[in-house]
């Protein structure tokens, strides 16, 4: 029990004095996750709108594929990305394994289906509301998609926040493809796993607090977006 109290006290101390290791790992986590989030959003959001607006042949198939991709265990995603990037794999020549880039790729694969799925839901609702009007105004497909993306921006931000939450807390896949290398690919989750297994609860707990803080911030942001929606701001 004293171990844990000691750990907590030290953890607070690390946080208060902005311990360099703690800062470095947190910053790396944010870099990886935010980059992955931007890439995933750029893929997912237009796709979500296209799936809502266009009626093409394999639309239903694509939607069910995306929904099942969403259920893929991250560890398995990590394994696939590892195989792709490993020396003998198809993309081995790029030398990306055990780099930040590999971790970003893994996170993109994990959260893109999630963001598409959530965003598509709201794009579809908005489209059923706008359908007659936008058809009546003789809009092009591009204009329809841009209108949906803009008028549904709050829902899209909510989808992105969900993606962020999923990515920042993910450990299995980035452990596999990043390797948890000190000063290179160590991020919040993988560091916590390592420090815990070493018995260094102080650093693990401090890192854990940062994660919790981020999760709470995401939650607040989601609520705030929802409130501006109801109040009709911006």
């Amino acid at each position: 029990m004293t171990d844990i109290w000691d750990g907590l006290a030290q953890a607070f101390w690390l946080l208060v004095q902005l311990d360099p290791t703690l800062i470095e790992i947190s910053a790396r986590s944010l870099t990886v996750t935010l980059t992955a989030l931007v890439v995933a959003s750029l893929i997912a959001m237009p796709l979500a709108a296209i799936l809502a607006v266009r009626r093409f042949k394999f639309r239903r198939v694509i939607i069910s594929v995306i929904n099942s991709l969403m259920g893929l265990p991250p560890v398995v995603v990590g394994l696939f990305v590892y195989i792709l990037l490993s020396r003998s794999g198809p993309l081995g020549g790029l030398g990306l394994l055990y780099t930040i880039d590999a971790m970003i790729i893994a996170q993109v694969v994990i959260i893109t289906p999630l963001i598409i799925s959530i965003a598509h839901q709201s794009m579809r609702d908005l489209w059923s509301e706008y359908h007659d009007l936008l058809i009546s105004m003789n809009t092009t497909t591009t204009q329809r998609i841009l209108t949906l993306l803009w008028d549904g921006r709050r829902a899209l931000i909510t989808a992105a926040l969900a993606g962020f939450g999923r990515a920042i807390g993910e450990v299995g896949a980035i452990m596999i493809v990043g390797g948890n290398i000190e000063n290179a690919t160590r991020v919040l989750t993988t560091a916590i796993a390592l420090e815990t297994s070493k018995g260094d609860f102080a650093l693990a707990l401090a890192l854990g607090f940062v994660l919790i803080l981020l999760a709470v911030a995401v939650n607040f942001a989601t609520h705030w977006v929802g409130r501006t929606e109801r109040e009709g701001k911006w």
Partner: protein, 238 residues
């Protein structure tokens, strides 16, 4: 782009004929009112003419290419569809679609907002307006592009007397400016006030298409359809 010629125009949805067969030629100018009981096919008729609903058989021909015809039409829906944007942005939206410069669009939108009494609400999100305000905004948004043809589906159905009056004034002004109006209404008084032509639908079929002066002429009852006569007298017809 007028006259628009409909031949054997028929709409079938899941085996049920909602409209037609209909042979009709609509001329340019004036206000055509479409009347008939609930479920008669008024909305279906308007949407099919406008092209937001597909017909299953027959044809509808504008005198210009389809795309050009579509560009010159507007539609005001039975329940107004508001973009989740401000009043001002709802008004500029169709103008921006047509490539008008932003400052010009805003200028025009502001004069229209003034005309419909929403000048104080430029930044209000349109979905938060009252039903009557939304209906007026929908009408202004439809008229702002100066359409050659305007379809209206019961534009005053849920409005009180003064709002109805305002809307009717806007419609008459649009007609005077050369827009051809085709509107459905339940309101016989409104049909009498506004109508130049009357199209009467019943169970998807056109029962009567005639100048309003004939239809509403008290002394001309003999020449009229009995169903229409009963409808005008306020009978309930199925």
């Amino acid at each position: 782009m007028f006259p628009v010629v409909m031949q054997d125009l028929t709409v079938v949805v899941r085996g049920k004929t909602l409209l037609g067969p209909l042979d009709l030629t609509l001329e340019a100018g004036g206000i055509t009112v479409v009347m008939g009981p609930n479920g008669a096919g008024k909305t279906t008729f308007l949407k099919t003419c406008h092209g937001v609903m597909r017909h299953s058989r027959g044809s509808i021909n504008w005198q210009v290419p389809v795309d050009q015809a579509a560009q010159a039409q507007s539609f005001v829906f039975q329940s107004p569809i508001m973009l989740r944007r401000s009043v001002l942005e709802n008004l500029t939206y169709p103008l921006r679609l047509q490539g008008m410069a932003k400052h010009k669009a805003i200028e025009l939108a502001e004069t229209w907002a003034k005309r419909i009494g929403l000048a104080q609400h430029l930044t209000t999100p349109a979905p938060r307006l009252s039903g009557g305000e939304q209906q007026k905004l929908a009408l202004a948004r439809a008229l702002i592009t100066k359409p050659q043809c305007l379809f209206l589906d019961e534009p005053t159905a849920s409005l009180d007397g003064s709002a109805t009056k305002e809307i009717e004034a806007l419609l008459q002004e649009a007609a005077a400016n050369g827009t051809t109006l085709i509107m459905s209404t339940h309101n016989v008084g409104q049909a009498k006030r506004l109508g130049d032509h009357v199209l009467f639908l019943h169970q998807g079929k056109p029962i009567l298409y005639a100048p309003a002066s004939q239809v509403f002429d008290e002394s001309n009852k003999g020449g009229q359809n009995e169903l229409v006569q009963r409808f005008l007298q306020g009978d309930i017809i199925e």
